[in-house]
């Protein structure tokens, strides 16, 4: 039985205190590039207090559709981002993965890819999903390359769904199937 489900090679997945989440998320949000890579909604600058209250709501934990974590580096134990599986469709065995690395010093260094590897393993060996979906913006080339490395394939595009800085961009949908993940990880499933 794998006891290291939450650990990768560079990062580990954690749960954090609302106070810290409020302060950290509020400061990450001030980097508009981070927000515009992550979210199609116009960035809004929420206070640490408001974000903290949101995490403290009972409904946050009761939200059955999301299984979410924070990301800390193994080496310095630094809180650098978050990752999770949302909208789990249990009877179909599908869920959507979302990731954000708030600390731009950590971009392009493999932390995101490592966290994605950990969450895929979680999705396929703890939740026993059949596939995992994600949506990424066409202008986020670095993320798309990282997801392809993790085993995702482009499945379709919502053409010109985004409009920023005077131009249009696609939302790209990618997916990975259980068999594909197992092949990548050299595992055989017992039945």
């Amino acid at each position: 039985m794998n006891g290291n489900l939450f650990r990768g090679e560079l990062v580990r997945l954690t749960a954090e205190e609302p106070d810290l989440l409020g302060k950290t998320f509020s400061s990450w949000d001030r980097d508009s590039e981070f927000r515009r890579l992550l979210d199609d909604e116009p960035p809004c600058l929420w206070s640490a207090k408001k974000i903290k209250e949101w995490f403290e709501k009972d409904s946050y934990e009761g939200d059955e559709s999301g299984l979410s974590f924070c990301i800390r580096t193994l080496q310095e134990d630094c809180l650098i981002g978050f990752i999770g599986l949302w909208d789990v469709e249990w009877s179909h065995g599908d869920a959507e993965v979302g990731i954000g690395i708030g600390d731009r010093e950590r971009w392009g260094k493999g932390y995101g890819t490592d966290a994605m590897r950990v969450i895929l393993r979680y999705g396929f060996t703890e939740l026993n999903l059949e596939r995992i979906t994600l949506g990424v913006f066409g202008y986020n080339g670095r993320a798309i390359r990282s997801y392809e490395k993790a085993g995702f394939t482009v499945e379709g595009r919502m053409r010109q769904a985004l409009y920023r800085d005077g131009s249009r961009a696609d939302i790209v949908f990618m997916g990975i199937l259980r068999d594909e993940w197992q092949a990548l990880n050299g595992e055989r499933r017992e039945d």
């Binding site: 039985m1 489900l5 939450f6 749960a15 934990e61 060996t125």
Partner: protein, 193 residues
């Protein structure tokens, strides 16, 4: 009558109340160990924050107060009261004099020192000598051989095997129900360790 024999104290550990201020941070660390979570719970393993645990502690005491079918304890070292685990008797049905039992030692370094045996001994005495229950059930996944051994040593027998009821790490596992009747307990585990 063994009135003077303490219900909550064993050689190295004791059963104790929740410390709402201090316990949450320690237990939050344990929940970050996926191995621990997968031994204890059938729900998908998920780490918890101290804030989430504090809310759970409140729910536990509320349930204990309102439903009266739960007896929850923390497990602490003697003499410094260091938190090492939890123990509970739950889903008690008074009219049938039956219930469920579970315990957990959070830090792997604290396991296999015999503390689990001491906790179980206290729990069984509490269940049979204080609550006057007739039987107890323990639900244990087949991939938890240490727990299976601990409960068998205490006199529990395998009663139910739910075939392939669990799915983890690409394999299906059986889920076992172990049971013990009052007459099978009879103060076992008191003599030796």
């Amino acid at each position: 009558m063994k009135i003077s024999e303490p219900l909550f104290v064993a050689e190295n550990i004791c059963l104790a109340p929740i410390d709402h201020e201090k316990d949450a941070e320690i237990e939050a660390r344990w929940t970050h160990d996926a191995g621990y979570m997968r031994l204890l719970s059938l729900e998908p393993a998920l780490p918890l924050s101290a804030a989430q645990l504090k809310k759970r502690y409140e729910k536990i005491e509320k349930e204990q107060d309102e439903k009266k079918n739960l007896f929850y304890f923390t497990v602490r070292m003697r003499p410094d009261d260091r938190l090492v685990g939890f123990a509970r008797l739950y889903w008690i049905e008074w009219s049938n004099a039956g219930g469920f039992v579970q315990l957990g030692i959070g830090d792997p370094n604290d396991r296999q020192h015999g503390y689990g045996t001491q906790v179980l001994r206290l729990l069984l005495r509490y269940a049979f000598d204080e609550l006057n229950l007739y039987r107890l059930t323990a639900v244990i996944p087949e991939y938890n051989p240490l727990a299976l051994h601990l409960f068998s040593k205490a006199g529990f027998v395998e009663e139910v095997r739910r075939r392939k009821a669990l799915n983890r790490d690409g394999k299906r596992w059986d889920l076992l129900h172990l049971g013990i009747l009052h007459e099978e307990w009879d103060g076992r585990l008191t003599a030796s360790r």
